[in-house]
Symmetry: D3
Amino acid sequence: MATVKLLTDAEVESNPAVKSVFDDIRATRKSDFVNNFWRGLANDPALLKRTWEQLKAVMVADGALEPLVREMIYIAVSTANGCQYCVHSHTAAARAKGMSDAQHGELLAVIGLAAQTNHLVTAMQIPVDAAFDVKS
Amino acid sequence: MATVKLLTDAEVESNPAVKSVFDDIRATRKSDFVNNFWRGLANDPALLKRTWEQLKAVMVADGALEPLVREMIYIAVSTANGCQYCVHSHTAAARAKGMSDAQHGELLAVIGLAAQTNHLVTAMQIPVDAAFDVKS
Amino acid sequence: MATVKLLTDAEVESNPAVKSVFDDIRATRKSDFVNNFWRGLANDPALLKRTWEQLKAVMVADGALEPLVREMIYIAVSTANGCQYCVHSHTAAARAKGMSDAQHGELLAVIGLAAQTNHLVTAMQIPVDAAFDVKS
Amino acid sequence: MATVKLLTDAEVESNPAVKSVFDDIRATRKSDFVNNFWRGLANDPALLKRTWEQLKAVMVADGALEPLVREMIYIAVSTANGCQYCVHSHTAAARAKGMSDAQHGELLAVIGLAAQTNHLVTAMQIPVDAAFDVKS
Amino acid sequence: MATVKLLTDAEVESNPAVKSVFDDIRATRKSDFVNNFWRGLANDPALLKRTWEQLKAVMVADGALEPLVREMIYIAVSTANGCQYCVHSHTAAARAKGMSDAQHGELLAVIGLAAQTNHLVTAMQIPVDAAFDVKS
Amino acid sequence: MATVKLLTDAEVESNPAVKSVFDDIRATRKSDFVNNFWRGLANDPALLKRTWEQLKAVMVADGALEPLVREMIYIAVSTANGCQYCVHSHTAAARAKGMSDAQHGELLAVIGLAAQTNHLVTAMQIPVDAAFDVKS
């Protein structure tokens, strides 16, 4: 159960502002499947459009990081933020972009280790070494 | 100010269990510099040893992910967990491993976008699409 | 499945300390429905009483913020803390207090943007501007 | 110390893409002061521009929620995410938009209570009541 | 720098509602020292009073858990929530209640391990075993 | 639904590296039951082994803290990190180690209070008192 309605394809068709974004999602991904996240966001067409355009700019456009690396970073953040849906959807996306079992295992190992040392550092309140300062 | 003492080199020298780990840190990293995190952990030699051995296995050993990618995942988790020291130390490590300004900018963009959609998903309580299930 | 029993109305009736709080919840809310949160807390009558009295003081009593605004702040915190039950119950409460679709959409937009900039700030470790200091 | 350089006004002037955003920040806020967050983001002009345009759409444009309410929601999320800079900057913004001491006190009380019940709910793993479901 | 004023002893003296709570803090703790947390809360006397009375009931009163165990649980939560001040103040309180170096080391080890497995579980989205259900 | 396969006993039998860890889990716990967490980790035998050995050292070995106290600290961290599975599994473990209803109630009360004051402190940005500094 969600706190918003998830728009059906019929409801999307009847709202031009939403339909335009859904058309772009389908064209960009070369797939008819549009996942529930966008169907929830579609309740607010302006928020839907801003979020999709940002996602295209950050996750789809060419850049300095490989798309698979970006997905693994996304999984890391989603895990630390405890977002179950996001962990599911971006693990599926990473798999679709070729993430191997070995890569997934290492991703998990880094996430787990980072969480552990994050908590150890916070519990000890370790001061930042001067060596880590950015020379501006 | 920390909640534990940060061991000085003299104190490390006088404790063989700690010295042995510090020697390995220095040899592995080919550097005399040992940052404050390890000096805090050194109050508990067993915890120090377990943490360092884990870090060597996860972050230093050869694997399926490039060391720079692992550092960027580490930064992502540390950011979401709000660990200031860890963000500083692993950004410095990523820089030392060649992270460019463009890569750093994209890392930040993915972290920010993931956090945004994590919160949107949680606020809407979006149910996981059946398509994201792992076929076992 | 919960980690505690959820007390039934019959169990509540047989415990005067719990019954007294449940009676007040029903009288205050002018409704017979008591949601699962209170049925779980009822395992510890003292904790139940302290929590309900606090909630009455903070969320029900007259104050400087409208009740709907307080519910939206509650949803914001619950989202960032990843509490699914709380997001559900306080979104329902906000709806009952008149939150419109447009207001809900804006609430989501602010939550999402805040999360994004929170993470960007933490990843960049931005120092606080002197201008933001409170003059005491 | 930050993990990125904070661009000075001179550096902003020499980068047209950054300068254009800074000009708009100053014009929108009717103030010459540009806080450190934007000076850090300016290292990535595309991220700077996307973030500022989003902030204008969400926090500055007319909407269904008063600007002060939006700032208080922002503070709530920033607190739960542990972003010190964001708590400082948005508390200053809320004060500038007229937040009274009484309103600030109630904001704190709601944030604290929500955090408490969030944790109680999670520790008890309370199942969502059917009554909280959205009728779609 | 804080987002609220920290009341001085002179300001406390001039506000009877605040003074009454501060007198009780001093009497209960058998110490004249009142730490900054209470001086910030004192801006809202009702919130100050509710918070202090709760703390007395939960942390000071006799109960089924030793006071030192309660402090260690407090440190664990404060660490996971990234509250620097709270980690400092409750580590000091635990030390004052007799926490040994060995106990502190084990506390850190448990916190770190829990954080690690928390993140591993979330990244793998492990379903709860039926065996963990509470028989109601 | 998980993002990894949960290995069945038959799959475990066919992988010596995994079987060896599962045998030790069963021997250490004197029980045939191996919960889902280990079945997910088993996809990466090295991560499985490191995690189990760490858990044995931290949670099973004799030490300065009673096993039940360690479980309660584990529950506290898992709650603050929002790990539903971990809250379930470690509450079950604490019950098996003798946690009474009264102890569970106090654990919840401390977790809830800590979360509340954590958020109040962060929202007020209270500076650390000099008195809390560790004398090194």
